[in-house]
Structures are given as structure tokens and as C-alpha cells.
């Protein structure tokens, strides 16, 4: 008898070799410039259960440019494993042809040229078309939203997330979990969740005072689909009060809570679940580790670290699906569940090429209606990207958007050194494009965006750098927070990622003078996104807008001030 593990391995092998995921195909078709919506969505419906996964949309209702990372270092045993390969290595690993659409969608290089050829990606109206088509094939497919949905744009900020709530409600998800949503403040989150027409899940959301499961978020929901009992367990971002301002949601405690996850899996199995799905905002490596230590999860739909993978990763008997960010991708997973167990799967990471997939008219009209009251604000042109500059963020260290923001902080706030958070959201802008107010908000919008200015000693700056570096570089993913390294302006440094905390950061240099940072000396430091409640200063988007308006055309030279040593 063929074991379940054999089935799963055969499924992974099939998607890798014959392109059951459709992946090899869309690379080739795209190279022939003949890609159609039907080909993108082509899927031989399989088994008896279908999951649709979207995650980390970050408020992006319209198609965007989004360059994937050039540097994405894996630590310890995760080095060289997906998602920690980029560029040509990533393409080789998945058999993606150079210059194909999949090259453009999934890797960073030649982004400008390929972008001109293949167009913007995403748009929730295109996502709606994809979801509708999957539902036409499998009416009871489960649509699951991994969170970071009600955050990340001008309209999302102005409406306190309502624009995204309205748009997503039209998509009719079945369940959702959370991260940045909590930065709307717990009152607002409870207000929205109270009216949500689908399940708000978080098995690891606890009452901070009593350290018991919070009543506002169910740990799981049981669905009946295709004659199968499917349990969907939510796992919210574990490090909410550490990576984001805990004072905004003081009632809640989070954490990975591996034992709790095992207990909930056992509970749903006992209750008759034949398929156990974890809708996770852990981040990919945390999900891999959790899958290796918690028994009984069939599928982890992984969010937070913004990785887009053409195939699921197999850990033991758990498949982990990563569906990208900013609306660029939708994952479809069809599962064969028999005799109370998952026996095989078919998967496709569907790229939302906005020029190929037709917008759903109903959703498009709703999005336009959400944006209409803010049209003048959104569309105002503040400046232009220079022809020699691509503005992007994603990557373990400074992106050009971050360099621009850091330079704006130094000049507008008269600082020696600037710090900008290592978040992974924020679309790209092409050389020569206008920079609108919406574009600036897309990379800065948050509910704690005030730009502080303070004195720090060289020693303290080093401590901050080491602390953040350990959140990225700790060899144990349970001790990582899933963001990237803090972006630094006005100061160069060297980082040896494999060293222990306290020994990674050396050669800190003040770029304006070329002198070494003096541990005892105080420096003027400007930054934003402090997790402290009493932060004072102008909003970061106003600082950046003022800087860009003064510059007119913004050119960002290549960043040569960070020296990364690994391996």
C-alpha cells in the first residue's frame, strides 16, 4: 500500500517535473508573448477540497510594481533553502526561463526592462476574477486571508481600514488571521471584527492579563466542504507587542505558543477534522520549524515574510504554501482527502498579471468608489523618479526607497544618522515615473508614523543595530521577527550575519566625515515608526513629501555603505 507520505512526495515531484503547478508553462508561454487569462488560470480540478490563499495585501487595491528581494539570507540550517535563494539561483531551482514573465514576477533582476514588457501586477479586481473562476470550478472552495490586509495605503489609513474591509467582504473570505490590523488599535479591531461576515481566527491571541485565549478571536473554525470536515486554525503574528507598538493593543498577548497549537490540532482532530489547515502569519521559517514540531497539520498557508513560492515546501507530512504579498499572487491548492487524511494535492501559484487578467467589473467599481473621495489627494504629483533610479524596498538591507527616506530624514530633520524600519511592504516605482502622494504613503503609511529626532551615543546605536540584527539573523527562526534589517542613513557598517548577538556589527562609520562612530559620543538621530507611545515629530509621509518636492527629480545612488558578510 502506498503511504500518505509517498502520495505527498509524488505530488511535489509532479508539480516540479511535469509542471502540474502550471509553473514551467507560464514561463514558456509568456516568452512567446501569448499568455492568456485562460492559461494563467488553467487548473485541472483535483480531489475534493480547494483552498484559495491570499496574504499580506497591505492595502493594495490597484495593480502595482513590486520587485522581489535581491538579498534574502537564510540562517543556520535554513541557508540556501527556499525562500532564501534569489535571482538566477531561484530561477534555476524552479526551472524558470530567463526573461520570462515568471522571471519578472518572482525574481529581482532586469526588473525595469521586464516590467515594461509584462506590466504591473496585482489589483483586487483581478484577484476577484481569479477567485470567481476558482469558485466556478469548485463552488465550496475556502478563501483564506492570511492578514496584513487592513494596512498600507493612504485610503486604508484615512478610513481606518474600512476600504480594505469593504473590498475584502465582497470577495467573501471564509476566515482570516492578523498582524498589522492590530495597529489600528484594539478598539477599532474589535469594532471591525464584531461585524465581520467570516471567521476572525487566532489560536495564539491571548488575554494579556490572564494569559488565557482571548474571547474576541476563535482559535479555529470547522468547515464542511466536499463532504470533508476541514478545520482551519488561525495563527496571528507571534511578535505583535514586540515588533509593533504593544500600547495600541494592551489587552492582547501573542507568541508562537507551540504547545497551544498542538493542543488545538488535537482538539480539532478529536472533533472529527479530516483535514487540518493552519492559516498562519508566522513567517516561512517559523512555519517550517513549527511544522517539524507540531503533529497533525496537513497544510500551512504561510504569510508574513512575503515569500512567493511556485511549489509548496514539504516538512514531514505538512505542506507549506507561500503566496507572496501586495496582491501579486493567489495560491490555489486542491486536495484529495480520503479516509480522514490528506492523500495528495495539486497546487498553483497564480500570478496576477494585471494586463492579462480582466478586472472583475463589480469589484473594480467598488474600489473606485472607495478611492473617489480621496482622488485629488492620491493623485497629486510630488516629484519624479530620475531615469537612473528604481525605487524599491524589499531585501534584507537598505532598498532605494529606504535610502530616499533615510536621506529625507537627515536633510529635513537636520540629523547625523537616520533609521528606517526594515518592513517588507511597499511597492516599487520605475525610473522616470511620477511620484504621487499615494506612492509616498504606500511605503510609509502606518498609525505610528511620527518622525522622532533624538540623541544617541555611538554605543547605544551599536546596541540597537545588534538587537535588530538578531531579529533577522538568529539561527533559530523562533527568535526571529520576520522583518528585515533596520535601514540606516548617514552611517556605514559591516555585518557578519553568522556571529552571535553583540558581535555582528562592526566598522560603524559616519559617512559625512568618514570617521569611525565613537561609542562615547552623542549623535543626532532621526527615525520613524517608534513603538513608544509618546513619540513626537512630524509624520514621516510629510517629511518624505517635503524632501521629494524640494528635489523635484529624485536620484538615489547605489548604496555601498553596508558590507554584508555571510558563510
Amino acid at each position: 500500500m502506498i503511504s500518505r507520505r509517498d502520495f505527498l512526495q509524488a505530488s511535489v515531484a509532479a508539480s516540479a517535473i511535469v509542471g502540474a503547478s502550471g509553473f514551467g508553462n507560464w514561463g514558456r508561454l509568456a516568452a512567446q508573448q501569448s499568455l492568456t487569462q485562460d492559461q494563467l488560470l488553467d487548473f485541472d480540478t483535483y480531489g475534493n477540497v480547494t483552498l484559495i490563499h491570499v496574504t499580506d495585501i497591505h492595502g493594495q487595491l490597484k495593480p502595482i510594481w513590486f520587485r522581489e528581494p535581491e538579498i534574502n539570507i537564510g540562517m543556520g540550517e535554513y541557508r540556501g533553502q527556499v525562500p532564501h535563494i534569489t535571482g538566477a539561483d531561484f530561477r534555476r531551482a524552479y526551472g524558470i526561463e530567463d526573461q520570462s514573465r515568471s522571471h519578472y514576477a518572482l525574481t529581482y533582476d532586469d526588473f525595469q526592462a521586464l516590467g515594461q514588457a509584462y506590466g504591473k501586477m496585482g489589483g483586487l479586481d483581478r484577484v476577484a476574477t481569479v477567485v470567481n473562476q476558482i469558485r466556478a470550478a469548485r463552488p465550496d472552495a475556502l478563501l483564506l486571508d492570511g492578514g496584513d490586509t487592513w494596512h498600507g495605503s493612504y485610503t486604508c489609513y484615512q478610513t481606518q481600514g474600512q476600504d480594505m474591509v469593504n473590498a475584502m467582504n465582497k470577495l467573501r473570505p471564509d476566515a482570516m488571521t492578523f498582524h498589522w490590523e492590530f495597529t489600528l488599535g484594539s478598539d477599532r479591531v474589535r469594532e471591525i471584527v464584531g461585524d465581520l461576515p467570516f471567521a476572525a481566527l487566532g489560536a495564539n491571541v491571548f488575554d494579556a492579563e490572564w494569559d488565557e485565549p482571548a474571547e474576541d478571536f476563535a482559535p479555529f473554525k470547522m468547515f464542511e466542504t466536499g463532504g470533508v470536515k476541514v478545520a482551519v486554525i488561525g495563527q496571528a503574528f507571534p511578535y505583535m507587542p514586540i515588533a509593533n507598538p504593544g500600547w495600541m493593543f494592551p489587552e492582547y498577548s501573542f507568541g508562537i505558543r507551540e504547545e497551544r497549537m498542538q493542543a488545538v490540532v488535537d482538539e480539532v482532530r478529536t472533533a472529527g477534522a479530516e483535514l487540518v489547515v493552519c492559516l498562519s502569519h508566522n513567517g516561512f521559517d517559523v512555519d517550517k520549524k513549527m511544522a517539524s514540531r507540531v503533529d497533525g497539520i496537513d497544510v500551512i498557508l504561510s504569510g508574513h515574510t512575503h515569500d512567493a513560492l511556485p511549489e509548496p515546501a514539504l516538512v514531514g507530512e505538512t505542506i507549506i504554501v507561500a503566496s507572496g504579498s501586495n496582491g501579486k499572487f493567489v495560491s490555489r491548492v486542491d486536495l484529495d482527502v480520503r479516509d480522514g487524511r490528506m492523500m495528495g494535492f495539486r497546487h498553483k501559484l497564480i500570478p496576477i498579471f494585471s494586463d492579462v487578467i480582466a478586472p472583475d467589473a463589480d469589484m473594480a467599481a467598488s474600489i473606485d468608489a472607495e478611492r473617489a473621495p480621496f482622488a485629488n489627494q492620491l493623485g497629486e504629483v510630488i516629484g519624479t523618479v530620475a531615469d537612473d533610479t528604481l525605487l524599491y524596498r524589499r531585501g534584507n538591507f537598505n532598498g532605494s526607497w529606504d535610502d530616499l527616506i533615510c536621506q529625507a530624514l537627515i536633510e529635513e530633520r537636520d540629523a547625523d544618522i537616520s533609521l528606517s524600519p526594515g518592513v517588507r511592504w511597499g511597492p516599487s516605482l520605475m525610473p522616470g515615473e511620477n511620484i504621487t502622494r499615494e506612492d509616498i504613503w504606500n511605503v510609509t503609511s502606518m498609525t505610528y508614523g511620527k518622525a522622532y529626532r533624538t540623541e544617541m551615543t555611538g554605543e547605544f546605536i551599536h546596541t540597537v543595530m545588534e538587537d535588530v540584527a538578531d531579529n533577522l539573523c538568529n539561527a533559530d527562526p523562533y527568535y526571529q521577527q520576520g522583518g528585515d534589517m533596520v535601514r540606516v542613513g548617514g552611517m556605514g557598517y559591516r555585518i557578519e550575519v553568522d556571529q552571535p548577538i553583540g558581535s555582528r556589527i562592526t566598522d560603524m562609520t559616519l559617512l559625512s566625515t568618514g570617521e569611525a562612530i565613537d561609542p562615547a559620543k552623542s549623535y543626532q538621530v532621526a527615525g520613524w515608526a517608534s513603538v513608544n507611545p509618546d513619540t513626537e515629530g512630524p509624520q514621516i509621509w510629510d517629511v518624505v513629501e517635503s524632501y521629494i518636492a524640494r528635489q523635484g527629480t529624485v536620484s538615489v545612488p547605489p548604496n555601498t555603505s553596508v558590507s554584508v558578510v555571510s558563510g
Binding site: A243, G255, I256, V423, G482
Partner: protein, 140 residues
């Protein structure tokens, strides 16, 4: 980035401890001495004691810690990196329904939390977990 004076003081203290190895090793000696006093120098097993802590503390001033050791007579809890490592000893009488305790402790910085259970047969079990205390901020 969380940048208040209190953290700065705590972190500066942490940094100076790390820099002065003799102090660090004497802190380890203090922990070893407390353990030796509790166990009488007996060997410690690794199975039968569950120590539950967060991987990263949400607030270093109040870190939830649980110990669970069925059949234990008492459980010692240590914060190995605190100036005073000894946190608590939970003693379970013969009528106790469960040998389980939950409390919150304060951690001066990133360190191992250590628990040692003395079982009713006189044997000992040790468990240890690293808890990271971080400045926070900048999360993705």
C-alpha cells in the same frame, strides 16, 4: 524602534556584564551553587519536566513561566542571568492534584530560564529555555 531611557539603562547594564567575563562566570557559579544546593550534586535527567516560556518576551518585566512535572515533590525556577537568579521553589504536598505552577518573572535581559524538579523518588530533572528580551520595533 523603542528608545526610552529605561531600556538604555538596562541595555547598558547588560552590555557591561557581557563585556566583563569574570562577572559573567561568577554569575554562572552562583547559578551552579544554587542548583548544587537543591540537588545535592545529584545527576539530573531531561525527561518529565515541561518548562513553558515565550521565546521572545513581550515585556521583560513580566514574563509568564509555567512548570509542569507530574510526580514532582518540588520545582526550583531560576533566572540564570538575573542579579538574583533564584526566582521560586514550588513545593507540592502528597495531596496535590497536579505538580504544576504558573507565575510571571522579571528578566534583566536575554537569558536562560532554568527549572529543576525534585521527583518523589528523590531523582532530579532539569529543563532550560532561552528567553530573549529585545528592544523591539522594526517588524515586517
Amino acid at each position: 524602534m523603542k528608545l526610552n531611557r529605561r531600556d538604555m539603562i538596562v541595555l547598558t547594564a547588560g552590555a557591561s556584564v557581557a563585556a566583563l567575563l569574570p562577572v559573567a562566570s561568577s554569575a554562572q557559579e552562583a547559578v551552579d551553587a544554587i542548583i548544587a544546593e537543591f540537588t545535592g550534586g545529584a545527576e539530573m535527567g531531561a525527561e518529565g519536566l515541561t518548562l513553558t516560556t515565550p521565546e521572545i518576551a513581550e515585556n521583560g518585566n513580566t514574563v509568564p513561566v509555567e512548570v509542569d512535572a507530574p510526580g514532582a515533590a518540588s520545582i526550583l525556577v531560576l533566572a540564570s542571568g538575573n542579579p538574583t537568579p533564584k526566582v521560586a521553589t514550588f513545593t507540592f504536598g502528597p495531596m496535590a492534584g497536579a505538580q504544576f505552577a504558573s507565575t510571571r518573572i522579571r528578566l534583566a535581559g536575554t537569558q536562560d530560564v532554568v527549572a529543576i524538579a525534585k521527583m518523589q523518588d528523590g531523582s532530579f530533572v532539569r529543563a532550560s529555555r532561552e528567553v530573549k528580551v529585545t528592544i523591539g520595533g522594526c517588524g515586517g
